[in-house]
């Protein structure tokens, strides 16, 4: 049973499912963003392509595929082409450590609902942090290689902003790791079973992490790298056609990732609201796996809707305010949270 082919086949199936999920989520988010923006601004939003405009994202992709790809004469063409690949590749690879549920027993064999979420990989959170820090290069190189002033400023802003908030993000996560005693995302979720969500035990950490997530995603109120009022389009000013589409897709994939991580780390992940025994679901059964999966997806969507809501409600920060918030407010708060958590664990445990 443990043959190489079996492992490969299982990995292939999982890869296919996760990949489809990510793409579907990105498409759904593009649609949701436009509809919710429409509702918030008291207009309809896209509603002509297919029923309720549901086919809008696919129409968008077709349009982007047909668009001419314009690369400025002055740009560094090789790096200009590589940058979107880096951005999207990093946005995808984070999903490798995200568990979509616990495990399913098939023929007495545990199959974990995630690509690399088996218990012997217990660096899930660190992997995500490492990938976020590598994701900086995509946008920075895009901005630099375009040889456009707006792009350069956008790229540098993005990099400085992401590194500034990464420290606060990491500090918030340290608090959770202290409670759980593991970096594995599955372990963190299991630790929150029975409504012991980390949002209740780590409220300060949650706020820090949420704010930092917005900054890492480069979304409003921290969308300084692409602030259209001052930088035209920021790092993607000189991108068009499918290359722009890749950045666009990466933005929504990142949004889904961030929501998934927040749901996993602070909102109980795939733990069911009621114990599985009450529902009469066996441990390891396919139905229980499905129930966990649905719970997780619902939490992700709740989170993404919140993120979209924030984008259309809150104005943009100024860059000095952003740096002030990152270094002088969130970082000290993260340190305070850490000390409080440490003292709390020492006293109560």
């Amino acid at each position: 049973m443990d043959s190489f082919l079996y492992i490969l086949a299982l990995a292939g199936i999982k890869l296919g499912i996760v990949f489809t999920l990510v793409l579907l989520a990105a498409a759904a988010l593009v649609y949701l963003e436009r509809r919710i923006a429409g509702i918030i601004q008291d207009r309809l939003g896209p509603n002509r392509t297919g029923p309720f405009g549901l086919l809008q994202p696919f129409a968008d992709v077709t349009k982007l595929l047909m668009k001419e790809d314009i690369v400025p004469e002055a740009a560094n063409k090789k790096i200009h082409g590589i940058a979107p690949i880096i951005t999207l590749g990093v946005a995808f690879v984070v999903y490798a450590v995200i568990p979509f549920g616990d495990y399913i027993l098939i023929n007495g064999e545990k199959i974990y609902m995630g690509l690399a979420t088996a218990p012997d990989i217990n660096i899930g959170i660190l992997f995500i942090l490492a990938m976020t820090s590598v994701g900086i290069y995509g946008i920075t190189l895009a901005g630099w290689s375009s040889n456009n002033k707006y792009s350069l400023i956008g790229g540098l802003r993005s990099a400085a902003q992401m590194v500034s908030y990464e420290i606060a993000m990491g500090l918030a996560l340290v608090g959770v790791v202290m409670l759980t005693g593991s970096f594995g995302l599955s372990d963190i979720v299991r630790h929150q079973d029975g409504w012991l969500w980390n949002i209740f035990t780590q409220p300060l950490g949650f706020i820090i992490f949420l704010t930092a997530s917005f900054a890492e995603m480069n979304r409003t109120p921290f969308d300084l790298p692409e602030a259209d009022a001052e930088l035209v389009g920021g790092y993607n000013t000189e991108y068009s056609g499918m290359k722009f589409g890749m950045f666009f897709l990466a933005e929504y994939a990142n949004m889904a990732t961030s929501s998934a991580i927040i749901a996993l780390v602070y909102l109980g992940g795939w733990t069911l609201p009621v114990p599985a025994e009450t529902l009469g679901l066996e441990d390891g059964s396919v139905l229980l796996g499905l129930a966990q999966f649905v719970t997780f997806i619902v939490k992700i969507f709740a989170m993404t809707i919140f993120i979209i809501w924030v984008r259309w409600s809150i104005p943009r920060f100024r860059y000095d305010q952003l740096m002030h918030l990152g270094w002088k407010i969130l970082l000290p708060l993260g340190l305070i949270n850490l000390v409080l958590t440490a003292v709390g664990i020492k006293i109560f445990a």
Binding site: A74, W327, K328
Partner: protein, 144 residues
């Protein structure tokens, strides 16, 4: 364990291939009609003024420096956090000392003003600065 990381690598390769496939499909479908004006650098419709590969504000560099130091401290905090529950009071106090040093470092940066970013100083126009002569201004006020 290695197989699990192999799956991550496989996933990375497949996603890069997917992106590549998307770009190639686009290359086959899209028109290509370049012209010098279209291919010039965008600068709000004006002729671009010089390149953008010039020396830039070193403040970004300072931020990256400070980040590097804090990142290393963060990396040391992680293995501590993961075994925190099993450690005694001694390790806890020792880590508090480590922590205090970190805070002093932050305070130093703060006090020296290296976490400061340039703030805009907006000038609110006053009545005296108005371009319109006062007489016309007051007349306008009266009329409206």
């Amino acid at each position: 364990m290695l197989t699990d990381f192999g799956i991550i690598l496989l996933f990375l390769i497949i996603s890069v291939l997917f992106v590549g496939a998307g770009l190639v499909t686009a290359a086959l479908l899209r028109p290509s009609r370049p012209n010098p004006v279209k291919n010039s650098t965008y600068e709000c419709g004006e002729h671009p003024w010089g390149g953008s590969w010039v020396r830039f504000n070193p403040r970004f560099y300072v931020i990256a420096l400070v980040f590097l130091v804090f990142d290393v401290e963060l990396v040391l905090l992680f293995p501590w956090a993961v075994v925190f529950k099993d450690l005694g009071w001694f390790a806890f106090l020792a880590m508090l000392v480590f922590f205090a040093v970190l805070v002093v470092g932050l305070a130093y940066d703060w006090a020296k003003g290296y976490l400061e970013w340039d703030k805009p100083s907006p000038q609110t126009p006053k009545l005296e600065d108005l371009v319109l002569p006062k007489k016309i201004f007051h007349k306008q006020q009266k009329d409206s």
